[in-house]
């Protein structure tokens, strides 16, 4: 079964430090992978998708097929980045499977 794994429940860093949120997937084909974010008291929303190769709010994520990973990175964390982050993979017709989530806490 297609699966997305986020090994860290909590990642705590100081402002200005680099951030890497880990995501590994198990899928035999060509995966479509995404990062979703949920800020405090806000809706869950799409942050970025691997196919777009975009940088959103300073975050990037590169698909590494050799390591089956899709880690989310930001060189300098900001306090407003504190949120819950979910890695997700699409099955068919917009049906997504989500990881267990990582809470990022950025301290001043």
């Amino acid at each position: 079964a297609q699966r997305v794994t986020q090994p860290e429940k909590l990642l705590s860093v100081f402002k200005g430090a680099p951030v890497e949120l880990k995501c590994n997937y198990s899928y035999s084909g060509s995966p479509e992978l995404f990062w979703y974010v949920q800020y405090s008291r806000q809706r869950l929303q799409l942050l970025l998708r691997h196919i777009s190769r975009e940088s959103i709010k300073g975050f990037t994520a590169d698909l590494n097929k050799g390591e089956t990973s899709f880690h989310l990175k930001k060189p300098f964390a900001q306090e407003e980045d504190s949120a819950m982050y979910y890695c997700a993979s699409i099955l068919i017709f917009q049906k997504l499977v989500f990881g267990t989530g990582t809470r990022l806490l950025v301290s001043p």
Binding site: R43, L46, F93, Q94, V97, G99, G101
Partner: protein, 115 residues
């Protein structure tokens, strides 16, 4: 902006009660989903629907049913609530025919407590 509205933000129910969670979207989306969100477990798909009167089981459908009588409305039903159904429930929608973009539009969530 796409708006997905979940009618109840907070509910407290007793074991055995029938519970209705309502979700309405205003962007004419074909696809609608119900997830539950639990700490350490992430989001798990309960049911989804690609069209009116159409429904498909997700990963954890046991103890739940759904209704999609109108395109804009997708209801989640707990026939007999149990304490292990205490959770945050998230509704989401997305249009069909746009390819697998992966962008779901979520509601604010309904936090259900079953006593």
């Amino acid at each position: 902006d796409v708006k997905v509205t979940q009618s109840s933000r907070y509910l407290v129910k007793r074991t055995g009660e029938k519970v209705f969670l309502e979700c309405v979207q205003d962007m004419d989306h074909e696809n609608m989903f119900w997830y539950r969100q639990d700490p350490g477990l992430g989001l798990r798909l309960i049911y989804f629907s690609y069209d009116v009167k159409m429904k498909e089981k997700g990963d954890i459908p046991e103890g739940y049913s759904v209704s999609r009588e109108k395109k804009e409305r997708f209801s989640l039903i707990l026939e007999s609530a149990s304490t292990n159904q205490t959770s945050m429930y998230l509704c989401a929608s997305t249009p069909a025919g746009t390819g697998d973009t992966g962008e779901l539009f979520f509601g604010e969530g309904s936090r259900l407590t079953v006593l």
